[in-house]
Symmetry: D2
Subunit: 500 residues, 4 copies
């Protein structure tokens, strides 16, 4: 664990994690307590179900090497280029560039690469710690900047830990039967605080170096102990990870790389259980300021809802897969196929462009960080709860039924049956039957299999379920202003002007 903590003042930082390979190595030997299929996992890096999710994070490092303009940025904190995922947005353009990087990584991995929660948490905490300090003369902001600086210097992956398991949703945290249903401070002393509770379905938590623990919702005065924000190393004592099953997860344990569809990359979500985990004061960024919990949640979700632009990159892959399947079937130029590809593209670009618009319309917070437009961020995310499902449906339409009835790789490799399959599953001339099956398996992977989890269901619920966006849209729709516009044009006396 020592390798992940802040070095004593005056000491040199070790060299940052720079390449995908560095990153994968940095995860080894951490003795995490990870459970999967009823067993403790020895080394997550080598577990065939887990590894694809690690590869997806590694791709973010590799992109920083191959395209530094996109994936790194000059940090005012360190004076050096750092990962864009650890950067505090100093302009609307910084936010726009986040979106472009997200789309690109979606294209390269076809799945969730797990670093956006950390990025968005860093940006949200920048302004919130500043404003808590302003209100209560606390020192959170400076502590937080030190933490971010360390993260940038070391090249760490930051995971978030926000979504409490919640228990009875009709009750606030302090009224739950069991206080642990929301993460809370169980003990405090001069050195720091201890926290208890669990956070559900945390994206990429095991693949991170640090977790930023944050409250999950608006809190009241009686929820003071639940108003805790802090950074903990992933391998801190007392943390247990219970891995979430994904559709078709067992295919990763088979030999061969066809049936998995996307053998290299996958997502990761796990439950994180905190059993009295210690956080030193230097890593505590909120403790008891319950009236700032809502602000933190709202700013985080504002950033994060627009981060779902990544799904337009994943959508690019699925559109390409559908086009390839049509090509292999010899029907790429049928008018209805072309029209469906256009529809998929129209929808996919809607995700992208609403994200970009939200980022572009950012405004400067008191702390100096830029926050994107909240209304449009909600519009973006709300589209993400529908559009990938429709793109997936159209991809299945174009793919044809074989995507769910094709034989296994083992059949394809069987000495006799393999030939029969190759004889009968031919598409247009010049297409290898194996390639045809590969592209269908990719579509299966993205619409039913492991990456459907990220492309579909996580698109639905990540950063808030659909109704959360509708509530936020309702709040910001300026209804009274719009009523005035209408009354004025209808010739109804409103007692004021038109709002000019």
């Amino acid at each position: 664990m020592a390798t992940r903590s802040i070095p004593p003042k005056g000491e040199e930082s070790p060299p940052p994690i720079a390449t995908g390979e560095d990153y994968i190595n940095s995860l080894r030997g951490r003795s995490l307590e990870v459970y999967l299929f009823g067993e403790r996992v020895d080394e997550p890096v080598d577990h065939p179900v887990i590894r694809p999710s690690i590869n997806a994070v590694a791709a973010t490092y590799d992109l920083a090497i191959s395209n530094p303009e996109l994936a790194t940025v000059m940090s005012p904190l360190t004076g050096e280029r750092v990962s864009r995922f650890a950067h505090v947005a100093g302009s609307p353009e910084d936010l726009v560039q986040q979106n472009k990087m997200q789309r690109r990584l979606g294209q390269l991995t076809g799945t969730c690469f797990q670093r956006c929660v950390g990025m968005d948490a860093i940006n949200a905490l920048h302004s919130v710690t500043y404003e808590i300090d302003e209100a209560f003369d606390t020192g959170y902001h400076e502590r937080f900047l030190q933490f971010v600086k360390m993260v940038q210097q070391r090249g760490f992956v930051i995971g978030g830990a926000m979504t409490d398991v919640k228990g009875d949703r009709s009750l606030p945290p302090h009224k739950q039967d069991d206080p642990d249903l929301f993460v809370h401070v169980s003990k405090r002393n001069d050195e720091g605080v201890w926290i208890r509770g669990a956070k559900a379905h945390q994206t990429g938590c095991i693949n991170s170096h640090w977790l930023l623990v944050m409250p999950t919702m608006r809190l009241g005065a009686d929820d003071r102990d639940f108003a805790i924000v802090g950074a903990v190393p992933v391998d801190a004592k007392g943390i247990t990870y219970i891995y979430g099953r994904q559709s078709c997860d067992l295919r990763a344990m088979e030999d061969g790389n066809i049936d998995a569809g996307n053998a290299q990359y996958g997502g990761q979500e796990a439950m994180v259980v905190f059993d009295d985990v210690f956080i030193p004061w230097s890593h505590v960024f909120m403790d008891g300021e319950y009236d700032f919990a809502a602000m933190l949640v709202e700013r985080f979700t504002c950033y994060h809802r627009r981060s779902y632009v990544c799904k337009s990159g994943v959508g690019d892959v699925l559109i390409g897969a559908a086009a390839t399947a049509a090509d292999y079937n010899g029907v790429e130029n049928a008018s209805h196929i072309k029209d469906k590809l256009v529809e998929m593209t129209h929808l996919n670009e809607t995700i992208y462009s609403t994200g970009i618009a939200s980022s572009h319309q950012a405004s400067k917070m008191k702390s100096g960080v830029y926050l994107n437009d909240d209304m449009i961020a909600n519009v973006c995310k709300h589209h993400v709860t529908k559009i990938p499902y429709e793109i997936g449906r159209l991809a299945q339409d174009i793919a044809g039924g074989l995507m769910v009835t094709a034989p296994s790789q083992k059949d394809l490799e069987h000495p006799e049956i393999g030939d029969v399959i190759r004889k009968y599953l031919r598409g247009r001339a010049g297409v290898d039957v194996e390639d045809r099956i590969r592209i269908l398996r990719l579509i299966e992977n993205m619409t039913l299999g492991r990456n459907a989890v990220g492309y579909l269901t996580e698109s639905m619920h990540g950063a808030g379920s659909p109704q959360a966006q509708r509530i936020q849209i309702a709040r910001q729709m300026q209804k009274e202003f719009k009523k005035e516009l209408a009354k004025t044009l209808a010739g109804i006396d409103t007692g004021k002007g038109s709002g000019e």
Copy 2:
């Protein structure tokens, strides 16, 4: 195989297969050549991946016992009550009752119960064999009646074998490089014909007793050898089955019955390869009458597109699962939840009622069988290519993200981790955590897992992909009649009346 052929005249038929248990026993010991995961399956009945699909067929027998009004009918051919699946529709009401039985079986199994292809093929062949005889003075219709009578008496399951693998879709059968890409007659003699080729993704083929082999599309004069219709026992010499992989199929091989979602029931699709399979003349119902191939395909798809009413029964299960998930989360009465359940129901009943309307508007064919309304059958099926996806999306919305991040059954049963899970994954008071996970696994099963194959992708492509319905709707839309209506009202001289 002898047990499945027609007994010599004068001999008594053995007792019919009556119960689900009878049915399962009837499948044992047939020495079928079935390949799955690169291995020949010893006994399909006992294979954990295959068995759920057999259970689903067995449920059709059990329904005939528990609800004979719905699932059996008095047969004019035998003078006894027979399975409705083997019955020739003698009235519009017979077709309507098929739909009601289909919905009920969808409700009971939550998946495809695999008997509709046979039912629809029997009905289609009734009129087509009659009309071929009329045109060419052949004797197909009588032979076919004998076959149906035997099927009714013995209580057999009939599978269809229609969808050829097709090769290059821009070429007719006789122009393909390899003639085997469409099933065709490879040899004829006094006793019968031999056929070669393969049929892709055949629903329930292994679980059937007989297959009705039929051409897949309109044929021309040069495609004469491809115009073959006949009945073959499933265990005929020369047939090989290659089992299609399904999403999450491996979960059926795990211990426990939670993670499968619907452990008892599943669907089945396999590729059927005919390597010079013999059909005696008594079981040949078309041979060379290529100009009747289109009629057969159109009548079969007319019946079959409306048979997708079964999906409204499956939809009932998914609606119920979503409502249960909401209940377990304590949010069943939130207005947005209620509204989503209404939307799901509205859509689901649209499938059902378009099917019913098609069946009700049936007309009598020359042979006496009733054929449902083709326009509305296409409208029904076309809805089925979209509505289950939207119901599935809404079910995922209501379910919450845990449906794709819940831990495995093995974790739940782990001596320590199991307690942690039970502590933290509580919903509202009084709900067992295991039950909560069970209902989420069912939703996963139906929207991403094994039964998503049938509820989603098979809904898309079975009985013809969406574009096939659009073409058929275009053919039947009476465009010129509608143009006359419009011109008359617009005051344009049409040279005739309004069509009254």
Copy 3:
């Protein structure tokens, strides 16, 4: 008024109104109090804004002549063929035939022909009067049968009067500031009752011979005086009609018949004000039985929601108009045009077939009348609140922008400008420019103009606004039954079987 009342017993009925011409003559000279554009209308029959709505009703008589199978039926009450609009449904097939007649009349008029409210009210009152009698030993049912018999014999048009103006929607009738905001009994004596109040937007009221006054919603014990059902002649003393404006209504007052789009036919809705209008006891069918008000409303809306099948006939006209516009533009065979026509047809047939299914699934009431399936009736009507808008949108897409920028008929007939228009607004060879404009004006009429009122907005709100259907769907969705289905398949112990 004498001509419209029941003749003294023993006297011969005058000959029934048989033809459209008879019907139009029957409306003349009634001295109705009708207001339009701030003036009392001398003779509605001759008012250019009103006449098209009368023509639409006249078309229902003409259809009875040209197609008696469809538009008339043998009445058990009179022993003669009578208008299907005045017939009590004695079988599911009677209800199905109503739908077929409705579609045909939609095709012939392109608008609302205003007779369905009466038909549906007659059918609803048949069973409700019977059940009130059963409960309270009243004599409503027999009175009502006498009324219906008279209506059948005389060939009258029956309008409904249900929708109260309602005032403050959060208060029940008896709590309104002004009791007149709901129609109620203002006085009773030995001869009958007097009613006061107003009914909003009553379809075809002025074109009817009698109005059936009915309560608008569920009533409580304190609303007793509002629980009044009775028949009043349209020209009864004390009734005032205030005509509703329709989009583009003034075009009916211009010379020429092009710009109106559909010059011959239109709909009609007016507010009906009852200023102490007398109803003799012989025409009172409910008085004070408040607990049957909800039953009446529910049965009426059950019939009426499925009556919106008429819109599929209107949709046929609009599809035909769009196809004609495409033809005139020379693009009828463009693949995107064909695809849009298919989409319009698919949607239009969805309306039709959900209506048919509801009628087909009718059940017999105690009084002998058949009532269609309520769930499916709501599904049908709910589609009608959306589908015509989408068909209209697609029609505008196909039509091209000229439909809203074409010059007036007067310009077309101008000696110089007319030639310029004819030179420049040519479509494909062989198409008369006037015909091209005529078809575009029809599309304008149906999507923006007079008949858009009926095809769009009335489709939205007639027989209950969308939310009313959603509430009814929620009530009937059998949620607990569906939850049981799901729990059983998920392996959750439900304490009972699967509902078989």
Copy 4:
């Protein structure tokens, strides 16, 4: 006409048109040849049907006074603040600001304010004239800059004239029976060119000072004479305008201002006929460079498709009107009403944000002007062909049926009937019946009446019908790049990398 031409060099420009009032005065006395309802219009400014469209343009001037930051900009050409509508975009932010101004004017007028065509044509011609010069050493760009400078200095409104009437759409211009079906050069001499032909449905043409005539589509070598771009004063000799009828246009001719819905503002489209109209060389910006026609059309539509952001401003009015109607009905807080307002807002903001994203992603052309992102512009416009229809449908849902059945203003003002109406059409307490009717008339105006023409049908066809956007999306979807992404992830050997 002299007042609108460029003053001789050395002379002072007259003072610019600055206020809405100046603008209206500038239109008087021009002796335009305008036909409407079969008559030549004496003075368009005073015609009640035309005046609302003039008021909408006047509002653009008034906004420049009240909010100069939004509606004016410092011009590098003149060194002074000029109307943003006449400005050449020098940065992405300039394009974004156009969108913000468009939305604001949509909010203020509830209709089309007719100045975007000119703005977008100026920006498109800036780069195209530059690139023609580059290719052929012509002098168009400098001429064009002089023209733009004059327009900026004088404060003129520029209309476009692009959409030819086209005749047989399957033939190119030079193959038409009548060459006049596309505007073309009919004569050339030393002084200039003369043009003939007609442009259909030109927005705001009569309300402009100058028209920019441009070709309508890609041209070939034989279409050289059709490759003409030039500026002509609106009152040039030989131009005739034939006014397009709009839904409910006659209501503008009635007394009173209620029934029109939006009495003050409207749109305008007319056919412009050029009967040998002279253009001096100084105002010719393309003549015969047929291979640049496609570039001009594509750049113009690229700007213009994103200009439909104005519809989000009009949508704001309609959302406000629906919310007001709900408020007046006392149901503003019903959950389904709130949900519909959220849906309308979500959709409306989608239009806005896709427009903003397109503008933000602009790139610099060789001439220095910025051109917005074409893919996203097409996505934006494509949404505009659907979203306003759905917002309109939801507004009608919320409004209730009274919006199409309310009595006329004359009835409301009738001494007796007016009181009856006021008695019965009460909504919730405190709402004036007239106000209730006013807001419903506004919704009628925007969904069926005059401004539905702009909000719906023009949204469909302006800047290209839906299929035009689909074609453009298909061209730019980078299909091969996306296929590579998919193949790489599926493990198919593509012979190259992933495109990093």
